[in-house]
Amino acid sequence: MADAITVNHISKRYGTVEALCDVSFDVREGEIFGLIGPDGAGKTTLFRILTTLLLPDNGSASVDSLDVVGDYRLLRTRIGYMPGRFSLYPDLSVEENINFFANIFGVTLEQNFDLVAPIYRQIEPFRKRRAGALSGGMKQKLALCCALIHKPHVLFLDEPTTGVDVVSRVELWEMLADLKEQEISILASTAYMDEGLRCNRVALMSEGRVLEVCSPPDNLEEYFIEKLGNG
């Protein structure tokens, strides 16, 4: 089985700051892979390279067997991306947001309704409400709905649960588990260790480096601290 994402020795620097340093890992098809690390570990930079928004200085990467540099146009039709602090358009209603994103991906809500239905039903009661007036958890659900609207093969979620309460966090991870059943590969980043436990595998990141790729042990936090201490 092909890998959903392969990352080979990727490096990226901004001026004198080394954002990513020789990062390598693979994400298998149909798994939830977690990038765990504090702010400033390089998670967002890595997301932007994999979603074709940034070019790596060194190394190569492919997503869904397409090169992130060479095949970026085709790749953009196959991935879903939810950036950190993503707030959609606060002045548009829930419905307008969904329709807009469906439209730019050249699909309609009905086409892939099966996929987004479980999430959509939860926000449907608020579909006339402006996105800016939704609670944090609802906003995240709407954003996820918009990122899934074109049935992507690989889903990228950059810190989807930052600033979201525990209940909404739990719900979001349950939704991701459902999506995994639909054979969508997921790369998600988080600063919460307990969320790492819900991933099939995790990469522990700190200061632009991947310290370890593993199945999350039960004592993930202790384990991470130990790794940080060694690094």
């Binding site: 928004l53 991306y81 606060p90 002045d91 548009l92 730019i104």
Partner: protein
């Protein structure tokens, strides 16, 4: 594409306050400049000093009295002229020569403390005095203001305000709306989607083009019906050149949004880099001829200068499109260059 434009329209329509400002500003500026801030001079206090109160002199005085621009204050002795001007009893004194009836010679003494008023008074007086029988017969020089005989300042301001407002709305508003998407992270999602960058650009432009078009109509209606600006060169031509200028301003906005990352920066750059040169170099406040040569070269590059020139010619001089070929040519060239650069520079990546 259509949904994209629809979305932009919704953004504009839902931001009621900004929408109102955009539609009311041109109205206010036109009214403000048209009525209050006017360099027109009315009721100039004029005194006359004449050794012989001949028929010709009396006729000249009559013409002055008849004009609403002058307030005739009576005769003054040669020795008191200085005093009258000093005390403000008169702003101008006409001294007729002994042989005025024959030679048509006269002298104007003006209160130069207010240069603008003095200059305008001079022009008015010359114009009034040069139309008399004597003057027509004998005076060497005759001055006629063509196209704007009453020298109405609104004729000068309307094109200037148009040059400024369209730059303001098109350039500033588009750059802010694009940068806003960068700030909220929605731009990342748009870029990652299969939408081509050119579509993002075009759909950002169309709503603002429409909005500025509404402003154009408001301004032209006000200019024509309220301020009596003649629109002599034909409404069609004025609109045509204006739309070209609108597109140019949109392209400028795109360029700004390419280089800045925050809404505040977009606002500052739009204001400083675009509005300031309009005021200084476009002839809105100062004639471009008075600018030192180094700066004048800069004024040759500033688009509003050409647009305002073209508008003056079309609206007031009444030439047709052939008369503004140079201006239109420069604007067209600049539009093509800026648009190409904006599209090229509009990255489909984040760097």
């Amino acid at each position: 594409m259509s949904s994209f434009i629809r979305k932009e329209m919704l953004h504009i329509l839902r931001d009621r306050r900004t929408l109102l400002v955009v539609l009311v500003i041109p109205l206010m500026l036109i009214m403000l400049f048209g009525f209050t801030v006017s360099t027109d001079v009315n009721n100039i206090k004029v005194m006359v000093c004449a050794p012989h109160r001949s028929y010709a002199v009396a006729e000249a005085v009559n013409r002055m009295t008849a004009s609403r621009y002058f307030e005739y204050k009576g005769f003054v002795d040669a020795g008191d002229i200085d005093q009258s001007l000093r005390t403000g009893k008169a702003a101008a004194v006409v001294v007729f020569a002994d042989d005025y009836d024959v030679s048509g010679k006269y002298q104007l003494l003006l209160d130069g403390a207010d240069v603008n008023t003095a200059r305008t008074s001079q022009a008015y007086l010359q114009s009034v005095l040069s139309t008399g029988n004597v003057a027509v017969k004998q005076s060497g020089i005759q001055t006629h203001m063509l196209f704007n005989p009453q020298m109405k300042s609104s004729f000068n301001f309307v094109p200037g305000i148009m040059g400024m407002i369209f730059l303001l709305i098109c350039a500033m508003m588009t750059s802010i709306s694009i940068v806003k998407e960068k700030e909220t992270g929605t731009m990342e999602v748009l870029l990652v989607s299969p939408v081509k960058p050119i579509y993002i650009i075009v759909s950002k432009m169309i709503p603002y083009l429409l909005l500025s078009f509404i402003d154009l109509v408001i301004i032209l209606v006000l200019a024509y019906f309220v301020l009596d600006v003649p629109l002599a060169g034909g409404v069609g031509n004025v609109v045509l050149v204006s739309v070209l200028y609108l597109v140019l301003a949109l392209a400028l906005g795109m360029m700004v949004s390419n280089v800045v990352e925050s809404q505040v920066a977009a606002l500052l750059i739009s204001a400083m880099v675009m509005i300031m040169p309009v005021i200084f170099f476009s002839g809105l406040l100062f004639p471009t001829e008075n600018i030192p040569w180094a700066l004048r070269w800069i004024s040759y590059v500033v688009p509003p200068r050409w647009y305002i020139d073209a508008m003056r010619k079309l609206m007031i001089e009444g030439v047709d499109l052939k008369g503004v070929l140079l201006e239109v040519g420069v604007l067209l060239a600049e539009t093509v260059v800026l648009m190409t650069a904006a599209v090229k520079k509009f990255n489909d990546r984040l760097e």
